[in-house]
C-alpha cells in the first residue's frame, strides 16, 4: 500500500497549486473589474433607470415610465439634432476615407522619404480638438486670417468672408478642419491593413500580367475589407458622437443649426437641468450606434 501513496499525493499537490494560481488570477483582475463596475456598469444600468424618470439635476425625481421617450418623438429639436448629426456623418466620412486611402497607398509605395510623409499626414491626429479649433478659428478670421488674406490676394474673394457666420461656409470650414485632423488616423489603420497583405500576391499577379489597377481591384480592395469595416465603424461612430468642434467653433450656430446629438444631450442636462430627458436621448443615440455598427459590419463581412 505504501507504494500507492505518492500517486495519491501527487494530484493533491497539483490541485493546490492550481487553486492558488486561480485565486491569484482573480486577485490580479479584481481591481479592474471593480473600477469597471463602479464607473461603467453602475452608470450604464442607471442610465436606463434615470431615463424613465422626471429627474432634475437637483432635487427629488419622479418615475414617469416611458414619457421621456414619447416626448422625444414629438420634439422637433430632437429630430433636428438627429438629422443634422446624420447629415454630418454622411458628408464627412467619404472625404476622410478617400484621402485616408489615397495617403495609405502613398505611404505604402516604398517611396523615398515615406516615413516623413506618413508622420506629417498623421500629426494633426494627436492634437486636441480644442487646439485644432482655435488654430483654425484664427486662420478663418475674416480680417487677418491667412485663409481670407490668401483668397483676397488671389482675387478669389472680393470682400472678407465671415466663414462661421453662415451655415454653408461654416459647415464647409468644419468639414475641412475635421478631414485635416482625422484623415491621418484612417490612413494609419488602412496602412496597417495594407502591410499585412503578403507581397507574393502582387508578384504573382504581375507575372500573370495584371497592371496596378487590376492589382488594386482584385487583391488590395478585397483583402482590405476587414480593415475598411473597422475604420468605417470607428469613423462613423466618431461622427455620431461629434461635439467638440461644434461646441467650440460654431457654438451650435448659426441659428442653432449645427447642434449635434451629444451637444443636445449636454444642453438638456446641464443648461435645462432635464437629466432624465437627456439620458433618454443618450439611450436613443446608443441604440442608433449599435444598429449602425452592426449594419456596417454586416455589409462589409467576409463573404465566406
Amino acid at each position: 500500500m505504501a507504494t500507492l501513496s505518492p500517486t495519491i499525493e501527487r494530484p493533491k499537490a497539483h490541485s493546490t497549486t492550481t487553486l492558488s494560481k486561480q485565486r491569484a488570477g482573480l486577485f490580479f483582475v479584481l481591481p479592474s473589474v471593480l473600477f469597471m463596475a463602479v464607473f461603467f456598469m453602475v452608470p450604464a444600468v442607471m442610465a436606463l433607470w434615470v431615463s424613465l424618470h422626471n429627474w432634475p439635476l437637483f432635487g427629488p425625481h419622479k418615475f414617469i415610465g416611458l414619457t421621456n421617450y414619447t416626448n422625444l418623438l414629438k420634439d422637433p429639436q430632437f429630430w433636428g439634432s438627429l438629422g443634422f448629426t446624420t447629415f454630418y456623418a454622411v458628408i464627412v466620412t467619404p472625404p476622410i476615407f478617400l484621402l485616408g486611402f489615397g495617403m495609405a497607398l502613398l505611404a505604402n509605395s516604398g517611396l523615398r522619404g515615406v516615413r516623413f510623409f506618413r508622420t506629417a499626414f498623421f500629426l494633426p491626429n494627436v492634437i486636441s480638438f480644442g487646439a485644432v479649433c482655435l488654430m483654425w478659428y484664427f486662420m478663418l478670421n475674416d480680417q487677418i486670417g491667412i485663409i481670407n488674406v490668401t483668397l483676397r490676394r488671389l482675387s478669389l474673394l472680393h470682400s472678407s468672408l465671415i466663414w462661421l457666420a453662415n451655415y454653408n461656409t461654416a459647415m464647409f470650414a468644419i468639414i475641412i478642419l475635421v478631414v485635416w485632423k482625422a484623415a491621418g488616423g484612417t490612413m494609419l489603420l488602412l496602412l496597417i491593413g495594407l502591410q499585412a497583405i503578403p507581397h507574393d500576391l502582387y508578384q504573382a499577379a504581375s507575372v500573370d500580367g495584371a497592371d496596378s489597377w487590376d492589382q488594386l481591384r482584385f487583391i488590395t480592395l478585397p483583402l482590405l475589407k476587414r480593415t475598411f469595416a473597422l475604420a468605417l465603424v470607428l469613423s462613423v461612430t466618431g461622427s455620431y458622437l461629434a461635439f467638440d468642434q461644434f461646441y467650440i467653433l460654431t457654438q451650435g450656430g448659426p441659428q442653432g443649426r449645427t447642434i449635434t446629438m451629444v451637444y443636445w444631450i449636454v444642453k438638456n442636462a446641464f443648461i435645462s437641468f432635464k437629466v432624465g430627458y437627456a439620458t433618454a436621448i443618450s439611450m436613443v443615440l446608443l441604440l442608433i450606434l449599435v444598429v449602425l455598427n452592426a449594419g456596417q459590419l454586416y455589409l462589409l463581412r467576409d463573404s465566406e
Binding site: K21, A24, A120, G130, F138, D244, V262
Partner: protein, 294 residues
C-alpha cells in the same frame, strides 16, 4: 550586338513615363504634407510674433521680431497658464499610472491564470468598447457626485482610466500571451510568488506594451474635452482643452481677442503631443496592431 534604335526609343519612353508618374506622386505627397503641416507651423509662428505683426494686413509670414510676450501674458489669463498646464499634467499622470497599473495586473491575470468566471469578466471589462462613454456620461456624473469626486481632477482621471481600461487590458493580455511560458516555469520552480514573478520576471518583458498603453492614456487624457467640461465646474481646475474651449465661448477670459495668446496656448497644448508622437510612434502603431512591436 547593337541595340536597335526603335527598341531604345521604347525604353526611354517607358523610363520617362515612370519618372513622370514618380514626379506626380511626389508632387501630391509634398502638397499634402504642406497642407497638414502648415496650420501647425502657423500657430507656432504666430505664438512668437508681436501683436503688431499678427494684426498687420497682410500679416508677416515670418516674424521680424521674436517675442515671448504672448506666453508670459498667459499668466494673467484666469488662474494663469501654469495652473491649467499643471492641472492637465496631473490628470494625465493619474490616468497613466492608473491605466498602466490596472491593465498590467488584469492583462497578466487574463493571459496566464484559469479562474472561474474568467470569460464573463473578460467580456465585462471589454464592454465599454461597444458602448460609447457619451451615452453614460450623465449617470456617471451622478455617481461621481455621490462619491464626492465631481469637480476634482482625481475624479476626472478615474473616468479617463475607466475609458482606457478595455483597450489597456486587451493590449496587455496580448502582450503577456506572447511571453514564452518556460520563463515563468523556471521562476516558479525557484519558489517565486505570482506577484513577485510579475514584478521581477515579466515586467521587463512586457515593457513595450506598457509604453503603448501609457502613450494612449496620455493622449486621451491630455486632449479630452467633453468629460472635463461636464465634470469640472471650478475654473481653476480647468485642463488645457477646457481652457481652449473657454477662450472661444468666453473671450473675456483672454482679455478680448488676443490672437498671440490664443496661439501660444494652442502651442502649449499641442507641442507635447507632437514630440511624444514623433519619438514614440512605433509604440503608437503597435497599439493599433493589438500590441505587437516590430
Amino acid at each position: 550586338m547593337a541595340v536597335l534604335p526603335k527598341q531604345q526609343e521604347q525604353w526611354t519612353r517607358r523610363k520617362n513615363a515612370r519618372y513622370l508618374r514618380l514626379g506626380l506622386i511626389y508632387f501630391v505627397a509634398v502638397v499634402l504634407a504642406a497642407w497638414f503641416l502648415f496650420p501647425i507651423g502657423w500657430s507656432l509662428i504666430t505664438s512668437v510674433k508681436p501683436a503688431s505683426e499678427i494684426n498687420a494686413n497682410p500679416p508677416t509670414l515670418l516674424p521680424a521680431h521674436l517675442t515671448a510676450q504672448n506666453y508670459t501674458n498667459l499668466n494673467k489669463v484666469g488662474s494663469g497658464i501654469v495652473r491649467y498646464t499643471s492641472n492637465s499634467v496631473l490628470t494625465a499622470l493619474y490616468t497613466i499610472v492608473g491605466t498602466v497599473l490596472l491593465s498590467t495586473l488584469a492583462g497578466y491575470g487574463f493571459a496566464r491564470f484559469g479562474f472561474q468566471g474568467k470569460n464573463v469578466l473578460f467580456i465585462l471589462v471589454l464592454a465599454p468598447l461597444m458602448i460609447p462613454f457619451q451615452a453614460i456620461m450623465i449617470p456617471l456624473f451622478l455617481v461621481l457626485r455621490t462619491l464626492h469626486l465631481n469637480n476634482t481632477l482625481l475624479g476626472l482621471a478615474m473616468v479617463y482610466i475607466t475609458a482606457q481600461l478595455p483597450f489597456g487590458i486587451f493590449i496587455m493580455r496580448n502582450v503577456f500571451a506572447t511571453v514564452p511560458r518556460d520563463i515563468e516555469e523556471a521562476a516558479l520552480i525557484d519558489g517565486c510568488s505570482p506577484l513577485r514573478m510579475l514584478y521581477r520576471v515579466m515586467l521587463p518583458l512586457v515593457m513595450p506594451g506598457i509604453v503603448t498603453i501609457g502613450l494612449f492614456a496620455f493622449f486621451n487624457s491630455w486632449n479630452e474635452l467633453f468629460a472635463a467640461l461636464i465634470y469640472l465646474t471650478d475654473s481653476d481646475k480647468y485642463t488645457l482643452p477646457l481652457l481652449l474651449a473657454t477662450a472661444r465661448t468666453n473671450p473675456g477670459l483672454f482679455g478680448g481677442t488676443n490672437w498671440g495668446g490664443l496661439q501660444a496656448s494652442v502651442t502649449i497644448s499641442m507641442v507635447p503631443c507632437l514630440l511624444i508622437f514623433i519619438f514614440l510612434q512605433r509604440y503608437y502603431v503597435s497599439g493599433l496592431t493589438g500590441g505587437a512591436v516590430k
